[in-house]
């Protein structure tokens, strides 16, 4: 199976052939994967070099001429380093764009903190108006990239990861999917953490919602799932900073007395290298780590 990042490059190469309004902006990262596309569309595949402020600023300019830029690099250099460009050159200008990151929270584990961006979505949440996709499988990544490319006039963030579930689910932008129904609580699994959540809750009577699109947050879907349980107990399992979606869940359930257990990556640095699998365990996001905390919460 290819990775989400490989799939993104392949599908975007085809999309460039189909839609003359699309352009790809790169800052060296993944440029080798777009070599064929750059030969076919030299004016619409643009590598600005290691210049991430220009990467996002130029995307804003392209959008002001009516293009839909697809902007790609590692999450740390796409959202965090040029954050003021995201805020001013995209949001403030009302410029449309698709930002596609790879690396996610701990994919580049051996690269250390400099190449990890577990707070990318929390930061983006300080701005309004971003659709955010967190695919859990390369097939979902393809479907969501296609959806993002076609959705004119919007700002979309697609967060690609090395981590993947065994099977793909249909994508339903804006709606969480009910994968299992139970009475003891609701567990929301985001993107590539679904398999671990299903295993961790295998013998618990809980509803499992799957989210490959987290913004907009499906408030109605969460309310409906909670209404079907005996206890308004909600577990949010996210592959990025713990608690990122808590404000959205709290707002969705503002009329319902409820409890929330947020699970995600720790705020503190994990000063370890190794593999992303080891970091999944270090953050307690493997089935055993999830089960222990979910059991303690639900009792």
């Amino acid at each position: 199976m290819d990775t989400m990042r490989e799939r993104f490059a392949a599908v975007t190469t085809r999309l460039l052939d189909e839609d003359p309004r699309l352009a790809v902006l790169l800052a060296v990262i993944s440029a080798d994967r777009f070599a064929e596309a750059a030969r076919a569309h030299p004016r619409r595949v643009i590598d600005v070099g290691i210049r991430e402020q220009l990467l996002v600023g130029a995307a804003g300019g392209l959008a002001l001429t009516g293009m839909r830029p697809i902007v790609h690099t590692f999450a740390s250099f796409l959202v965090e380093r040029p954050f003021e460009q995201v805020k001013l050159d995209l949001n403030h200008q009302e410029a449309e764009a698709v930002l596609v990151s790879s690396g996610a929270s701990y994919d580049i584990a051996a690269g250390g903190r400099t190449h990890q961006a577990p707070a990318d979505l929390a930061l983006l949440d300080t701005l309004g108006g971003w659709t955010v996709h967190v695919p859990g499988h390369p097939d979902e990544a393809e479907a969501l990239v296609r959806h993002a490319a076609a959705e004119r006039g919007t700002r979309v963030y697609v967060r690609l990861s090395e981590q993947s579930n065994r099977t793909a689910r249909p994508v339903t932008p804006g709606r969480f999917q009910v994968l299992r129904e139970g009475r003891a609580g609701v567990v929301v699994a985001v993107g590539p953490l679904l398999d671990a959540v299903l295993e961790a809750t295998r013998d618990r009577d809980v509803t499992v919602l799957y989210a490959s699109t987290v913004r907009p947050f499906d408030a109605a879907g969460l309310r409906e799932a909670v209404a079907g349980t005996d206890a308004a107990d909600v577990v949010l399992v996210e592959p990025y900073l713990t608690g990122t979606s808590v404000p959205f869940a709290a707002d969705a359930l503002r009329d319902v007395p409820h409890r929330v257990l947020p699970l995600g990556t720790a705020r503190e640095e994990v000063r370890r290298y190794g593999t992303w699998r080891e970091h999944v365990r270090a953050h307690g996001l493997d089935p055993a780590g999830l089960r222990e905390r979910i059991d303690a919460f639900l009792g």
Partner: protein, 233 residues
Amino acid sequence: MTLTGTDSAYDYTDLPRLMSLMTGDEKHGPAATSTLDALWVLYDRVLRVTPATAEAPDRDRFLLSKGHGPMAYYAVLTAKGFVPEEWLAGFGSFDSPLGHHPDRTLVPGAEIGSGSLGHGLPLAVGTALGLRAQGLTGPAVWVLVGDAEMDEGSNGEALAFAGAVGLENLHVVVVDNDSATFGRRGGPAARFAVEGWSTATVDGRDHEALYQAFTAPHPGRPHCVVARVESKD
């Protein structure tokens, strides 16, 4: 080609009065007017854009990157019919579309919102790339920056890239009033020249010199005009 001016009720001599509507002062010091002459020559004689073509895909684009002190910009936009004169008195107030830094969604004719320094040139690079990608070779892209603004790293990224790829439809006006904290040997133009840009340095109060510099041919290269004005201090 001049598309503006002939039927306008305003000319250059009206600009101080229009600025006074915003500032309440009859006279304006060098800082407030540092951009005034460059802006006037551009809008009066160079830019192919009018209120009627403000949304046309093939219009010239002018991006004000140095968003501080935009009174001269608003005065020129008023003189050229983009902004109604009645708006000027409300400058900076809650209900006014005209803020101390411009917002493109509120000001007719403003291509970008600016204020935080170092955003206009990267946006202009993207605009030039976007026009080129669509085969629109006619429109020129202009961006006005201050000499101190060139200290921003984002501008360093943009000017090196634009020079390297020969972004011919891109034009920068650097209004140089010696406000950069450490200055630069050779002035702002030296930095553009070393990255492969066409450059000219002229008296920023001399309309004919500005016009000649703005319209100088620069095949295959982006063009930078340094407009020297009185020192800020």
